[in-house]
Homo-oligomer: 199 residues x 2
């Protein structure tokens, strides 16, 4: 049992929030977890959770998964700007993050673990759908007007391509893909993502 | 040590060949393994290997991996026919095989294991490149005239999409993808494969 009462600020509080979030995500899944529930489990004021994790639930998920970036915050920036360039911007940013040697091992480890773990994969599934690919579809002026089922299908098709890129380039390390310059992959794959949005 | 001398025909011989192939693939990788080497390890006449495995090395690999079909033989059939329809035919055949409940558990199990196992993944990498995606590129009248590096890149891009489709639909089970009818996925993804070949 952890001691009762509000915790003091600082690193301990942040660590306690991350640990509480880990338990909540595991018990309730990504979709079923709330920031309020995490605050309750950590025995801290909900405002402290917002203070340490401005990106909210997705930022906490990144911290729990030991990803040294918050992908959702990055995507939120990328989708701003001309809608006809979303595909190219998404692929370029995505590859820049994954190619970063300080981030890549954590991301590759997460994908490897998730693909072998039913509970983890279900958390990631919700996270990728709602906070990553969902944001891309919701930011596109045409795609966001479509039915919920069609938006979901398009998010799935985009996820498929990005997932395959990750697994092919960083996990399986298919030779031509692992060595390809970012520019080449942006040029070949950007328009595919764009076409799923524009269609 | 196994007993010296030629083995008699029948199920024992077939099983001995598969076991010898398993050892050779593990020791030498997919690319480095020859049918002659497998015959030597199994202590049988090379003609017997061809007799039991008409599809050659790829058929033996499928047997070793406990895949109840030989994907390379299926692809060889699919790529015949009008080149402008290769993309659609590849995606339809691929999904039909993977959706088959008698085959799907073995394939999903193989992908899960491979992604967690460096040795297995390197065998699969060669197999997918040479005997699956490589066949598709080599069957297309435009793509097969390109430089080796460009053919390899295109094979990688096609592998990326198909790998993402497998992982998204059957391993992660992204909701919209797992439920999507085959026709829908053929219509959305077939043209992507085709564009990698035609470009």
């Amino acid at each position: 049992m952890s001691p009762r009462g509000r915790r003091p600020g600082g690193e301990d509080t942040r660590a306690a929030i991350v640990e509480a979030a880990r338990g909540e995500f595991a018990a309730r899944g990504y979709a079923g977890t709330s920031l309020r529930g995490i605050a309750r489990a950590a025995e801290v004021d909900p405002r402290l959770v917002h203070h340490y994790f401005e990106g909210g639930k997705s930022a906490l998920f990144a911290a729990v998964m030991a990803i040294p970036i918050d992908p959702a915050t990055i995507i939120a920036g990328v989708v701003l700007g001309p809608p006809e360039g979303i595909g190219v911007r998404v692929v370029r940013t995505f590859l820049t993050v994954w190619d970063n040697p300080e981030v890549q091992p954590a991301l590759v480890g997460l994908v490897r673990s998730a693909l072998a773990d039913e509970v983890l994969v279900s958390q990631l599934r919700d996270y990728v759908y709602r906070d990553l690919v969902g944001q891309i579809v919701a930011a596109h002026p045409h795609a966001r007007t479509l039915s919920a089922a069609e938006q979901s299908l398009r998010a799935g098709l985009i996820a498929t391509q990005m997932l395959g890129l990750v697994v092919g380039r960083y996990v399986v390390e298919l030779p031509a893909l692992a060595k390809a310059p970012v520019d080449t992959l942006v040029e070949r794959i950007g328009p595919i993502i764009q076409a799923h949005l524009d269609r």
